[in-house]
């Protein structure tokens, strides 16, 4: 007992510097910011009351949830199709696929958002092509609205959807798929009864990851939404930077953190998140 107790202390001593660093430079400032939501403009729960009474706050929350849900669903659909292709591809093809998935991750989110603006704006490539082809008479409103935000966010999120799903699909023993066919299952039945259920943990993990990431999106909605469609993160920025309403802004930030932690807590009961995100494997 004594010995193990000592070795435990030893391990804690090893992580102590990192722990102090995190506390001083990360956790403490965040807690401080969150505390402001109870103290500004006057101490109390006044800011949180606005959560139930303010029409504009409701609108922001509903918009955010709607965009996040649509983004999550689309990113999962696209990501699942891609992961499926990658998981069943030959090792050579798989390397290129994975590279193609990862490259966008290394490009600045700002660059990607502006790239979408140039593609989607009224005189952009998409509208011009459609106009010249005679498919449409008037340019479509593809950007500076919810559609533009969703396009940009799905594009950003697909790699985050692919990686956990691919990890879980690569764990599926290919012999199970052969076995299913050998036992009389058509290709569709093999997918529906064997592949899909076995890849479900990855799908759920990807869904949680994408949804949580989407909740806090700032740059992409700010650029592609053109300031007309407000999501939570941009709204917080607006409160703090432009309207100097720290209390309201930090209240929303607190709610964001709480809802993300709640989502994680719920899903960690359903699936083993640690396994899916690759630790302890």
């Amino acid at each position: 007992m004594n010995r193990s107790w000592r070795s435990e202390i030893g391990w804690f001593a090893l992580i102590l510097p990192a722990f102090l660093l995190m506390t001083v430079f990360y956790i403490a400032p965040i807690l401080q910011v969150l505390a402001i939501s109870f103290t500004e403009p006057q101490p109390g729960l006044g800011n949180y009351e606005r959560l139930f009474t303010s029409e504009s706050i409701h609108r922001v929350i509903v918009t955010t949830l709607r965009i996040c849900l649509i983004t999550t669903v689309l990113a999962l659909l696209l990501g699942y199709a891609m992961s499926y292709t990658i998981a069943l591809a030959s090792p050579r093809a798989r390397r290129w696929w994975i590279l193609a998935v990862l490259v966008p991750l290394w490009i600045s989110v700002l660059v990607r958002a502006f790239a979408w603006v140039t593609l989607l704006r009224r005189q952009g490539l998409v509208n011009n092509t459609l106009l010249e082809a005679g498919i449409i008479a008037e340019p479509l409103a593809l950007v500076w609205n919810e559609f533009g935000i969703v396009v940009g966010m799905v594009h950003y999120m697909v790699p985050y959807a692919v990686l956990p799903m691919l990890a879980s699909m690569r764990e599926i023993d290919p012999r199970l798929l052969s076995a299913a066919r050998g036992l009389g299952a058509s290709r569709n039945a093999v997918f529906a009864r064997v592949f899909l259920p076995l890849s479900l943990p990855g799908l759920i993990a990807a869904g949680v990851l994408v949804f949580i990431f989407s909740l806090g999106f700032y740059i992409t909605p700010a650029i592609l939404g053109g300031g007309k469609t407000l999501m939570v993160a941009e709204w917080i920025g607006l409160q703090i930077l432009d309207l100097i309403r720290w209390g309201l802004g930090t209240m929303m930030a607190t709610m964001l953190v709480v809802s993300i932690l709640t989502t994680l807590a719920i899903f960690s009961r359903i699936v083993d998140l640690r396994r899916i995100f690759g630790s302890g494997a």
Binding site: D173, R175, L176, S178, A179, A180, R181, G182, L183, G184, A185, S186, A189, R193, V194, P197, L198
Partner: protein, 366 residues
Amino acid sequence: MTVTGHALGFQGLTKRYGSFTAVEDVSLAVERGEFLTLLGPSGSGKTTILMCIAGFVAPTSGTIRLDGRDITALPPEKRDFGMVFQGYALFPHMSVAENVAFPLRVRRMGQAEREAKVRAALDLVQLAQFADRLPRQLSGGQQQRVALARALVFDPALLLLDEPLSALDKKLRAELQEELRALHRRVGRTFINVTHDQEEALALSDRVAILNHGRLVQQGAPAALYEQPRTRFVADFLGKSNFLQGIVREAAAGRIGLSVGSARLSQALAEDGPRPVLGSAALLSLRPEKIALLAEGESAENEALGRITTWSYLGAGFSLVVETPDLGALRVVLPTWRAPIAPREGLEVRLGWSADAGVPVMDDAA
């Protein structure tokens, strides 16, 4: 036992992967209700043949027929063959009952009938009380039996087994061999088994087909193969054997005389077999258990003096290596019960065997 199985045959089956030939021109017929084992070392093409039968691998040439009907181009799910995969390939997200129900479910069988069949199949392998467990909660032997139940539940035309016992430990393997054999008698279906384990092949099968380098080397009943191997490879792969390389010195009806070094050996031949040419080379396979230790005054058709160089105790038998001046090192197996000697290194012994103990075999290089 009622024979409800189907007959399977393949003609000129060949599978090439680029320049590599996995299976070359193998033809074989499996009778209704027969238990056939494809036996060979790894890389002999046995698994490729099974995968061709199952439909997972398309042969480069050759045809596969089920009861005379060409099924070469049929996809695996249309063949209605039960298969027990290496490592069992049980679906980890389904309970034992759901695993067994899977083939029925994808055939859209009604619930009542499905449940009855699943119960019957689980009873067949004595796993009814484990129906609600997940595969990972079962032992290796139980998983193997679930795989069997799953492969048999839909009354398949034939049952394919890919190294069904290789993942199990030795004792369990012996038990399940007996069970598998009994199961085969009970269900009366055609079984095709693939293994690299010669003991398993001998114990289970009605007939064994031995493969090497993608070719069929010899086929026959286990006893016939063991007693009358045609080539050195077969004699060596099925059990252990001594090989004596000699030159034919005399040839009479049913008997030849050989010289091996300075020793003269007498060897019986099949009466109707071809008579070897005088002066030609001959190779004999001599099983270790067919060599006896001669006591004082005893004699045998073939005798050799030698000295024990190593020996080991195997429980039921002693395994000796006896170094002889003319025939080289000979492996000898003696029953331990009332063994004529207590083996000891350096002990001088006289070995003896009858003229029909050895079998002339072909060298595989030829």
